[in-house]
């Protein structure tokens, strides 16, 4: 439900809340989930993002987000140059994505000789977004609240493990969603929490059997 600051606001760099502000948010959330600035990013624009993205600065906005800028950052128009200065390589291309919302971007982030993360998200207007795919798994979250993402093997006990650990750290679960590719295959849990999940809890979870990767999106933390 929209609050009054979704009506008056956001404070943002124009020209479009969906194609500019939303695009910055997608880039920023991708970076936060990746945990750092990627060394290389491949960005695919789908639908209306591909058709009118250039005129709306969608391309510059996505790169700005990957560089850690917020939707009201006045440097957004210069993000390409800043990326070069900061040593982030990037490629932007139009691409038809199957069954995707018209305002969708897909971002593949890489660390040199290290990790890789693939994310797909779309802009719903008013500068708000939803993440729809993570490393090929279907998900659905806004990134507006603290979000714990656990990738695991689909096997009994994983969900209990997560809720037990969170309970131990006195973290309250606001919502919890479970997605899986197929029974017994890889699965992902998206848990929105009221409090910040401490590092110790993340480490504890990473050590559990069947849990492959744990990522925490901390919205209370300022970069």
């Amino acid at each position: 439900m929209a609050n009054i600051f979704d009506i008056l606001g956001p404070v943002m760099v124009g020209p479009s809340s969906s194609h500019t502000a939303g695009a910055v948010r997608i880039g920023l959330i991708a970076r936060q989930l990746f945990g750092r600035q990627p060394d290389k990013a491949v960005v695919y624009l789908h639908g209306s993002f591909a058709a009118t993205g250039k005129g709306h600065g969608t391309d510059k906005a996505l790169i700005a987000g990957l560089l850690g800028m917020k939707p009201d950052d006045l440097r957004i128009p210069e993000s390409f140059d800043i990326a070069e200065e900061m040593g982030m390589e990037f490629v932007i291309e139009p691409k038809e994505l199957r069954d995707a919302h018209p305002n969708t971007a897909k971002i593949i982030m890489e660390e040199k000789g290290g990790k890789r993360l693939e994310l797909q998200a779309y802009s719903i207007g008013g500068g708000r977004i939803r993440v729809s795919m993570l490393d090929g798994m279907e998900v659905n979250f806004s990134g507006e609240t603290n979000t714990l993402i656990v990738r695991n093997q689909d096997q009994p006990g994983c969900i209990t493990d997560v809720s037990t650990v969170l309970n131990l750290c006195k973290v309250n679960i606001a919502t919890m969603q479970v997605f899986r590719a197929r029974r017994g295959g890889s699965a992902v849990m998206v848990v929105e929490t009221d409090q910040v999940v401490p590092k110790s809890a993340i480490e504890m979870l990473e050590g559990r059997e069947g849990i492959l990767k744990v990522t925490f999106l901390n919205v209370s933390e300022k970069e």
Binding site: I4, D6, G14, P15, S48, G125
Partner: protein, 288 residues
Amino acid sequence: MSYQSMEEAYARCEKDGIEFWKAVQLEDAEERDIKTEDSWKQMKGMWQAMLDSIDTYDPSLMSRSGLVGKEGGKMEEYLKKGDTLCGDYMAKVMANALKMGCNNACMKRIVAAPTAGACGVLPAVLVTYYREYEAPEERMIEAMYVAAGVGQIIANRAYLAGASGGCQAEIGSGSGMAAAAICHVKGGNKEQLGHACAMALKNLMGLVCDPVGGLVEVPCVKRNVGGAVNAMAAADMALAGIISQIPVDQVIDAMKEVGDRMDVSLKETGVGGVAGSVRAQEVVEKIF
């Protein structure tokens, strides 16, 4: 839960013996479980961002397509000659609306109100008044609550996006919000600000969303002027004691119905309206 109708908001005002803006603020604080002072601080931040945005306008900038950017500067030059048809005050309102519209198109910082495309209407009406009449800042922030409250009710009953309901939902809603807001500043009561909103909405009902090339430039920048001038006229009518014969909630519902019936070519697809003109096609070929 946020107000679903103006009637519901009026009822809260009567029950608690408070003004409309206060009812909006209380609801915000209750809904988000925060102190009213924190809500006020946040609203003050929005107000400050609007003031700052108008001041950062740079007439030498052009949008990425090259279609808009200089309009704010041209209007300002013209009004300095002191010979405008609309008079000095209204010319300033128009200049501020253009400046904000150009800022948005040129990737400068703006406050979406209710959207980025319509970001010029509310500041044109409120900031011009604030500066010309040196009105107390508190009153202006109260007016921001009025605008937000009205906008939220429109969002709850209809929509605020051109892609959903045409430009009546963006510039139209922005105009309705601004009309109610300035009516409050001038001392209008809750019924008057409701009438101001209703009249502003009715005057723009049916307005289509037809951005050339899908870009928030043409006709958007100048439509902010239309929205602002319309808001001032509606507020003056309400303050004169003129009422909307159709209650504001029913006007909002009518806007929704019109939006639902509107053809998709007229909802931000860049196909119909002026976006479909020959000139627009030429421009689009050049940009893309």
